[in-house]
Subunit: 154 residues, 3 copies
């Protein structure tokens, strides 16, 4: 058992089933020693964890929970492509989009929901670079979208 | 004749002339075995295929056509840097921005206009990871902007 | 003394102290021969160079100055990770987000503030691919956010 799967077990996390792409693309691609995931929405099964605008209905806490779910989905789709979660060696980059009211400026707080769980799982190897930006509109009225780049190993 | 140029011929597609950068940067850069394109607007010659806000004047179909044009421009600028379209071996990542009204949430449908043509041309090697996000404002009032990462070969 | 540090000296530029991450991530990550920076805000010391909406209070010139500062911060955080500014060999990609009013469409002009200084410093090796997009809301009400990918050498 590798480090990541051990850590998932310790944390009591069962990865969600990998969400299907919602359109004409694939959920993740490997090239060289990297895996790029598609932008993940906060699906938990067939439902989005939170829909709506952060700062105007959706709270930071709800959006953090959504960001966490989207990050777990990113791990899940990457795993479905590399075949084994323990081949995900490091988290390199997280791009986080937050559907925001125009006077909401705590996008970093929201995307922390993703960053925290990535670091809990990957620990030192989960320390990633990150962009957190607001947007007026996301697919399916999701409150967050998260794309990741993972470094992969043998 | 390589696979990509053969496929372009079969599809009857003549790549557009590579758009010039509209500011102080270059349209594409190669590093390692990847080519990053700059964000491409839907220029067809000197005109944008569609300007305005999707969900508020611009239809999904018009925006899909714009996304297709921007994707062709991405292939074109990448080709102008690698020298031969057949050196573009795979499409790795597409980042698609859609100028959206705040209640428009079908960005994935719009960016399909880019994804479909990439897969028609590159076929199995055109299956890419993707982010589709909305935004309140894009350069020159374009309705879409598309940036790509291609894997390149010898 | 390497080329980049020599050029900084010629330009009379002292890199700013590397800003700390404002949340649960790190300012830059190295993987393979690339360094991905986190999205940088236009901090100069503890202050943001410009806050507000471009096209609605913040001028293009003010936003360009902010973009320049964010780019310097990107160089600074990358340097703090690679250890020596001269190991930054090339600028590959710049992602520029501009907090915009919905009728402001000169994001490329704004992000030129980043592109110009990168090219002044890195010269031929500073010619980068770039995306410039608008957004309705950025962290801390900053008017711009800039993320970079650098190619690194020995």
């Amino acid at each position: 058992m590798g480090l990541v799967s051990q850590r998932l077990e310790e944390l009591g996390i069962v990865l969600p089933a990998a969400p299907q792409a919602v359109a004409a693309y694939v959920p993740a691609v490997i090239s060289g020693k990297w895996c790029w995931t598609s932008g993940q929405l906060p699906f938990r099964g067939a439902q989005l964890v939170a829909q709506g605008i952060v700062g105007q209905g959706v709270t930071i806490e709800e959006a953090q929970e959504a960001a966490k779910q989207a990050a777990l989905n990113a791990i899940s789709v990457a795993t479905s492509y590399v075949g084994d979660v323990d081949r995900l060696r490091r988290v390199i980059k997280v791009e986080g989009y937050v559907q925001s009211s125009k006077d909401f400026h705590d996008q970093p707080q929201v995307i922390n929901g993703a960053s925290w769980i990535l670091q809990e799982i990957f620990q030192e190897q989960g320390r990633h670079a990150r962009s957190a930006v607001g947007t007026n509109a996301l697919p399916l009225n999701a409150c967050v979208e998260i794309a990741c780049i993972f470094e992969i190993g043998e």
